[in-house]
């Protein structure tokens, strides 16, 4: 193909001569017995194996060892990693961020979120129960993405040991501990579900009469 294929060209999945798709690295497969024998000999007597062994030996002598002694040592997890959910609180006031809008419950493709809400004494919507069935959750991150309040996020807790998966989804366990929230020790959550850094630029202002 001379010119760059367009998106439309890629939508045509019929791989033929001249389409956007072409086969990569299609070598002839050996057919006769002799050809097959030659291929085996070739692969066996290359020295690639010894190159690998030499690298290991070299690093061993230099004592440049990268092994992490898990579980005593842990690697930091990437901020976009999607492990067991966390529920955020507002800074300072410590109020739960979740408003019970139910979007996470709706969007969840494995249908594993279930919540109960009620009207509280101040006639606000209050979440009384919130569970995620981790036996079904596929950690797709949709809930965290849809949440309008940055309430549900994916945390970094990827190691879980218990007799039942349900134990990880007690609403109160998922919530940021109150003392941490009000002592201001929690930083703006950077992980999955947080706003992207350039969000301010995308906000449109609404005219106000005052």
């Amino acid at each position: 193909m001379s010119k760059l294929p367009s998106l439309e060209d890629f939508k045509d999945r019929n791989v033929v001569e001249g389409s956007a798709y072409y086969d990569v690295d299609q070598r002839e497969a050996p057919t006769t017995g002799m050809e097959k024998f030659k291929q085996v000999v070739n692969r066996t007597f290359r020295f690639e194996l010894f190159i690998g062994l030499w690298v290991v030996l070299r690093e061993m002598i230099k004592f440049d060892i990268h092994t992490v002694s898990y579980p005593a040592e842990k690697l930091p997890i990437g901020p976009r990693y999607r492990a067991v959910h966390e529920m955020q609180r507002l800074w300072e006031s410590g109020t739960e961020r979740c408003i019970g809008c139910g979007l996470c419950e709706k969007i969840c493709i494995s249908d594993c979120i279930r919540m109960d809400t009620r009207i509280d004494e101040n006639s606000r919507k209050e979440v009384t129960e919130y569970t995620i069935n981790l036996g079904r959750c596929i950690f797709c991150g949709y809930c965290a993405e849809v949440c309008p309040e940055l309430a549900i996020v994916h945390g970094g807790r990827y190691e879980n040991v218990s007799e039942q998966r349900a134990h990880y989804t007690d609403f109160n366990d998922m919530l940021t501990p109150m003392d941490m929230a009000i002592s201001g020790k929690v930083a703006e959550y950077p992980g999955f579900g947080a706003v992207t850094p350039h969000e301010d630029e995308r906000i449109k202002t609404t005219p106000l009469a005052y």
Binding site: C101, K106, R114, M115, D116, S123, Y130, T206
Partner: protein
């Protein structure tokens, strides 16, 4: 009379009847015009302006909802200008609208949300200073003026459909809001159901669930004989539960209505488990019993099971109220020549002259009230209510009140016959008419001759008259002759008749069961106390499913067979299981649907084949009974002496309006304490005062009730509600009683 108007919409040929709007024409032909304030059941409100269209040759835009179609016009529903106009309307609605969809009950079914997205409002260039407004609570209603878009739907239904005139607009430009004359509000919740946004909300439902989590089960209301179409919205009871609960009731708001009982008294299900021991006992009890006593809070299919049991084991079937109603219909038919009355709710709505006799309209059947009110508003119908009790809440519905003395129904009906029947009847029943002594009747009933004169005068120019007969008549000592007089009106006049069934499925029971009047010695009670009691209230010896837990059908006031579906699962035994154990075999109770008696007008249609769907204009539900012709003894007796009732007279009538029976009294939003309610005049005449506990005997039962003075009532009648009992009655609804104060 009606003329067809032909015109085009977007090049498509459409035709409507003269007087119908452009919008109606579009909807009949599946052409989409966006609307926000329009309600097919009410007159056009014309507040939202979203329905604008262009008409070839006329300046500017035209509101399609309230513009009558004219022959030959060319209508355009879409253009860039129209789109811009509609987009601007939505922008204006969105000015200062709180961004609270996240918690709003309406989110997901909100017209403001939908239309804002439909017209792609993603930025706002209008602004106005926001106002502080106060949230209000009126019983079951919760009003948040911040969310209100002043579409006026709520006020229009409250006035035009319900007839309460409770809601009104407090004008003030941008500050306008809705207010409520709360004492006139009958707590029907119609306003909640039509509100396109979350402004008028149910106080109880508020914030209990997001609406998209609910699953709708279409069914029929179980509380009165209108058997209104409704949908039970269900979801699991809570986190970790698998059993379902009903969270709310919804309906097709644009074309149909519900009263407060249907809308709020939904959680009357009986949560029971399979009690094998009780079941064995029940089967034993059936083997030892000779009669089954029951009320009409059952389905047609259950009635058919009872009838089948009767045929096999010769049980006596005792249902006092239905028996009286059955006899009444038979006597009616003997003169009218048709098994059933001719009218329906639709007939009432479309009538231009309506008379009700012996019916406590608001309490007995709210849909009759709504229909009368619609007729009154839409057709300028002349509505006359004949009743001994002047019901204040009906003052906007009724044009003429004819208040008569208790006991004089027969005389009044005879007078009415005299006004309306044709010459053929006069000849045939000449001796009856000759002996009619109007002076005596007017004197005894305290209805002036001029009142009949007025009626006669008003009737002359009317073409669609209807007569609604109510439950006061069926148990009347002269019920037989009253029924025959009604038959005479049905046969020999222009009038359509509606004979309101007294309980939910009284008509079904009357048409399906062969009822007895004398009970045996050992009885099975079904929802009524017997020697062994089956109860859907969970109060008996074996639990039965309530009417929101059953598949089956009702026979409604409209003479239609309408379906019920299971909203909440019932885990115990049902009547059909007992019948099977006794050898009356059917796999499911709905197997009886197609076998309902065809000589009563039922059709051979399977339950699963019953329709239950809607168009833009009407609900298509179940099927209508065939009105079979019958022959009988069509002689009519002369009027008997009218009975006199003096002193303290008590009327068996449920109050407040959302109370109908023990099931509405079980639902958490409608349960209440029954009071004896009467006017001040009644209190003085009976020498009791408000707050007194009084004892009296009525319907063979001793009642001890607290007395309450009601401002709504007048005269020397008091209401005795019976929603706290499952009994049904064959005595006349009025009784002269001795009241005994038993304070302390």
């Amino acid at each position: 009379m009606s003329k067809t108007i032909n015109f085009t919409i977007d090049g498509q040929k459409v035709s409507v009847e003269k007087g119908e709007s452009i919008l109606t024409g579009a909807r009949k032909n599946d052409i989409y015009i966006p609307t926000l304030c329009h309600l097919a059941k009410a007159t056009p409100i014309a507040s939202c302006r979203l329905c604008v269209v262009e008409v070839e040759g006329s300046e500017g835009f035209v509101l399609s909802c309230n513009t009558q179609a004219v022959e030959g016009i060319e209508v355009k529903t879409n253009s860039d200008e129209l789109y811009k106009e509609r987009q601007n309307i939505m922008k204006l609605y969105d000015v200062n609208h709180p961004l609270q969809c996240g918690v709003c009950d309406k989110s997901g079914e909100c017209d403001l949300q939908n239309k804002t997205l439909e017209f792609d409002v993603d930025s706002q260039n209008f602004a106005i200073r926001d106002q502080k407004r106060q949230k209000k609570g009126w019983g079951v209603l919760s009003y948040d003026p911040h969310l209100c878009i002043m579409c006026e739907r709520c006020t229009v239904v409250c006035n035009e459909v319900v007839g309460s005139m409770a809601l009104y607009i407090k004008p003030g430009g941008y500050k306008s809001l809705i207010d409520n004359h709360y004492s006139s509000c009958i707590q029907c919740g119609e306003c909640i159901s039509v509100c396109p946004v979350g402004a008028m909300a149910s106080a109880d439902f508020k914030y209990t669930t997001n609406v998209w989590e609910l699953e709708s089960v279409p069914s029929s209301c179980a509380h009165c004989s209108s058997a209104c179409n409704l949908k039970y919205d269900v979801k699991t009871l809570g986190v970790g539960e698998t059993d379902k609960a009903i969270y709310r009731v919804t309906n097709e708001v644009a074309i149909e209505s519900l009263c407060g009982a249907g809308r709020f008294a939904y959680d009357f299900e009986n949560r029971a488990t399979k009690d094998e021991l009780a079941f064995v006992k029940a089967v034993e009890a059936f083997k030892g019993a000779d009669s089954i006593v029951f009320n009409s809070m059952i389905t047609n299919e259950e009635a058919a099971v009872l009838q089948a049991l009767k045929e096999k084991f010769s049980y006596k079937l005792i249902n006092k109220e239905a028996k009286k109603y059955q006899e009444f219909l038979e006597n009616f038919a003997s003169v009218s020549g048709t098994k059933l009355y001719s009218g329906s709710l639709k007939t009432i709505e479309e009538s231009d002259f309506a008379v009700t006799l012996g019916c406590s309209i608001s309490a007995d059947n709210p849909m009759v009230r709504f229909a009368l009110n619609i007729a009154h508003n839409k057709r300028s119908a002349y509505v006359t209510c004949m009743h001994p009790l002047e019901d204040e809440s009906l003052r906007n519905v009724i044009t003429q009140y004819v208040k008569y003395e208790v006991g004089s129904e027969e005389g009044l009906l005879a007078m009415l016959c005299d006004l309306v029947v044709n010459e053929e009847a006069r000849e045939k029943y000449s001796s009856f008419f000759d002996s009619l002594d109007s002076g005596y009747i007017c004197g005894e009933s305290s209805v002036g001759e001029e009142e009949f004169g007025l009626l006669y005068q008003k009737l002359r120019r009317k073409t669609k008259p209807v007569l609604v007969a109510g439950a006061d008549l069926y148990n009347h000592p002269r019920a037989k002759n009253i029924a025959k007089l009604l038959g005479m009106i049905a046969k020999y006049s222009e009038f359509d008749l509606v004979i309101v069934p007294p309980e939910t499925n009284s008509l079904g029971v009357a048409l399906i069961c062969d009822l007895d009047s004398v009970p045996g010695v050992k009885s099975i009670g079904y929802n009524v106390k017997g020697d062994f009691t089956l109860s859907a209230l969970g109060e008996g010896d074996l639990d039965m499913p309530a009417l929101n837990q059953q598949e089956g059908t009702f026979t409604s006031l409209d003479k239609k067979v309408v379906p019920l579906n299971v909203a909440v699962e019932f885990k115990g035994y049902e009547l059909n299981d007992i019948a099977n154990a006794l050898g009356v075999k059917a796999k499911n109770v709905i197997d009886y649907t197609a076998t309902l008696p065809q000589n009563s007008g039922y059709k051979d249609i399977e339950f699963d084949a019953l329709e239950n769907r809607f168009t833009m204009f009407e609900g298509i539900r179940g099927y209508e009974l065939e009105n079979v012709n019958v022959k009988g003894d069509d002689s009519i007796e002369e009027i008997d002496d009218l009975a006199e009732y003096n002193g303290s007279v008590i009327y068996r009538c449920n109050f407040p309006f959302n109370q109908f029976n023990s099931f509405t009294n079980k639902a958490h939003q409608t349960e209440s304490e029954p009071f004896l309610e009467g006017s001040k005049q009644f209190a003085i005449a009976s020498k009791i005062s408000a707050g007194d506990t009084v004892r009296f005997t009525m319907d063979g039962k001793e009642y001890i009730r607290k007395f309450k003075i009601s401002k709504e009532l007048k005269g020397t009648l008091a209401l005795n509600p019976v929603f706290d009992s499952t009994d049904n009655y064959d005595e006349y609804r009025y009784k002269q009683v001795k009241l005994e104060v038993v304070n302390g």
